[in-house]
């Protein structure tokens, strides 16, 4: 009898999650007795995810690994799942503590917060104005990273964060918000977009405004989507963890829990080729450091995800 592990994503069709699914499939193959159900709503809403989770409960899956659209809203549904014996973990974008056994962070938030401002600062030896283009107002992780980034801002002399705007993870809105930034901050030197939709739109807007070389777009993005902009120079470098690894690790952890492992502070859970993850007081663990992509390696990774 195969174990059914459901990989629930924020929305179907997003390259990042497709790559995570690849990782999950890889884990399933490696484990042999696992069937992956890759599913999610069509737009990034909590209500949509709840409907999906309800139907997974009805199918009596063995584990649910979810990247949540809303920290709190999924809790009741996931609690119900756990009541019926389903192992629930969250990954990428987390669920409040009561709603899951553990949460797998792709990386730790402080590392990411530091990374995104460092990427901007590395290219600005003299310092200057930078702005943040965030994603959907309801996404849980972006804002944590931005908060972490602001904590370490003092370490980067001369870097001023002049504005934070929201592109709602919509290409056109992010594009327009970037135009607004360019308009209202003539001395802008860099835009940090810790979102894969936003970074692409911002790079495009900077290109269209003829500001390549003056404004560097950086943040978190997918190599396949950013390859062109790195080549054109709109973005000198950006970072992302490897989503394949993330999907792989989430599946492995879920399998470990199905097999009887317990998720409690201090416990170490197995992640196959990725090693183990150690849980903190919140039952959270970090997978790895974000990885930086620039002109030297982006082409190579663009073929993968």
């Amino acid at each position: 009898e195969n174990k059914k592990i459901a990989l629930v994503v924020k929305a179907l069709g997003i390259g990042f999650f497709e790559a995570a699914n690849k990782g999950a499939q890889e884990a399933a193959k490696e484990l042999g007795d696992v069937e992956i159900i890759y599913t999610g709503p069509t737009s990034t809403t909590a209500e949509g995810q709840i409907e999906v989770i309800n139907s997974l409960i009805a199918q009596k899956v063995d584990a649910i690994a979810v990247s949540a659209n809303d920290t709190d809203a999924l809790v009741p549904a996931l609690k119900k799942a756990m009541d019926r014996g389903i192992k629930v973990i969250s990954w990428d974008s987390g669920v409040a503590k009561e709603g899951r056994l553990m949460h797998l962070n792709p990386s730790s938030s402080p590392l990411i917060g530091n990374m995104i401002i460092k990427l901007a600062a590395d290219n600005l030896p003299e310092g200057g104005d930078v702005a943040v283009l965030s994603a959907s107002a309801t996404a849980t992780n972006q804002n944590t990273w931005i908060a972490e980034m602001k904590k370490v801002q003092g370490n980067y002399k001369g870097i001023n964060v002049v504005a934070t705007v929201y592109g709602d993870d919509l290409a056109d809105k992010s594009y327009r918000e970037t135009q607004g930034l360019i308009q209202s901050h003539p001395n802008l030197k860099a835009i940090i977009a810790p979102t894969s939709v936003g970074i692409v739109a911002a790079a495009q807007a900077v290109t269209d405004a003829g500001k390549i070389g003056q404004i560097n777009v950086t943040g978190l993005g997918l190599p396949s989507e950013m390859a062109g902009h790195v080549k054109s120079g709109a973005s000198k470098s950006f970072a992302i963890w490897n989503p394949i690894d993330l999907g792989y690790s989430a599946t492995m952890i879920a399998y470990d829990l199905i097999g009887g492992a317990e998720a409690k502070p201090g416990a170490e859970l197995k992640m196959g080729r990725m090693g183990t993850v150690k849980l903190d007081d919140n039952n959270e663990g970090a997978m790895a450091d974000p990885f930086v992509y620039d002109a030297s390696n982006v082409e190579e990774f663009a073929k993968i995800f």
């Binding site: 179907l12 159900i37 599913t39 999610g40 709503p41 069509t42 737009s43 809403t45 909590a46 209500e47 949509g48 709840i50 409907e51 999906v52 309800n54 139907s55 409960i57 009805a58 199918q59 009596k60 809303d70 920290t71 709190d72 809203a73 809790v75 009741p76 409040a96 965030s134 959907s136 107002a137 309801t138 996404a139 804002n143 929201y166």
Partner: protein, 334 residues
């Protein structure tokens, strides 16, 4: 008054019996569709015919259906309310805000319903008071209400609802019957009686058929319409309580896009989008159909967007088929 010198003729009350009328009705068609979908689901998935699973599935439509009842009346009266989903968001935001101030459950319910009523009143005032077209007004208030939520919440969320508040969206009245489902049934009966058995319901039909003539006939058109928007607001407030309680949190994007799903439900239920006709049993059936379709597809892990294609096709074909059928029969008769 004595009879004038006219010879009274005998005009029968009705030509057809109740049975014949039901057979020809839209509801009969919907019952067939619902049965087919039910059978299809039972065959397609071994998990479908499980009382708890079916009970979980009801959550897919109960909140929308509550609004759909009131929306059906609004649409029969020849108007439309596209702001319902935004009212949910605003009411939820108001409740979340109150929670931060330490308000307890009964007051939260009052706030949810109150905000719903207030939003409905604003719609009603703009539409009946100023005589503006409802489709445009409610597109405007749709942005306005949700926009207010965004201004209040931004990228934040309100959480920390009291334990007791969770009952509305997560509690069960008896066995598999959730509070929401019970409320759905009670509201279905209440709206059925209101629309089909009262003077108010008759006035709604009259207004939808010919507003001017209804006014001349002593129907208080403005008052009836205002009441309808108030009711829709109230139902949106109620749905907001249930949904917020079910999610346990409030974000401004809550219930995004529900207005179109509610309208789809009403139209699928056989309510004429141009006003003047439609029934509550039809809407109930449509709610069940939509709920079963989404749940059935969900069990097969079909992506939601494929379900919406199916609902879209269902919407068009359920309306188109009778027309095509009638045409084909007429052609055969010739």
């Amino acid at each position: 008054m004595a009879h004038a010198q006219l010879s009274p003729r005998n005009i029968p009350d009705r030509l057809e019996g109740r049975g014949a009328r039901i057979m020809k009705s839209w509801e009969a068609l919907l019952i067939v569709v619902a049965t087919l979908i039910f059978l299809g689901n039972s065959f397609a998935s071994p998990y479908f015919l499980d009382p708890w699973n079916l009970s979980d599935a009801t959550f897919n439509f109960t909140e929308k259906a509550m609004i759909a009842f009131a929306m059906a009346l609004v649409i029969i009266s020849g108007e439309i309310d596209l702001s319902v989903a935004s009212i949910i968001a605003l009411a939820s935001t108001a409740m979340g805000y109150a929670v931060q101030l330490g308000v307890d459950t009964p007051a939260l319910v009052a706030i949810g319903l109150g905000v719903g009523l207030a939003c409905g009143a604003l719609n009603g005032l703009l539409i009946t008071g100023l005589g503006l077209p409802s489709i445009v007004v409610t597109i405007g208030t749709m942005s306005l209400f949700r926009g207010l939520s965004f201004i209040i919440l931004g990228d934040q969320a309100f959480t920390g609802y009291p334990e007791s508040f969770a009952w509305f969206g997560q509690g069960y009245v008896w066995w598999v019957f959730s509070f929401e489902f019970t409320l759905f049934v009670l509201l279905a009966v209440a709206y059925g009686v209101l629309l089909h058995k009262t003077n108010f319901g008759r006035a709604v039909y009259a207004i939808g058929n010919n507003q001017t003539a209804a006014l001349f006939s002593g129907v208080r058109v403005a008052r009836v319409k205002f009441t309808l928007f108030l009711l829709t607001g109230l139902m949106a407030g109620l749905a907001s309580i249930c949904l917020t309680s079910r999610l346990g949190s409030t974000r401004p994007s809550i219930a995004l896009g529900w207005e179109l799903e509610v309208v789809t439900m009403v139209v699928l239920g056989g309510v004429n989008i141009l006003g003047g006709s439609g029934t509550i049993p039809g809407v109930v059936l449509a709610a069940l159909i939509m709920g079963m379709v989404t749940f059935g597809f969900g069990l097969l892990n079909v992506p939601g967007i494929v379900m919406s294609i199916f609902i879209g096709l269902l919407l068009i074909s359920v309306i188109a088929l009778p027309i095509l059928w009638r045409r084909a029969r007429r052609r055969l008769a010739h």
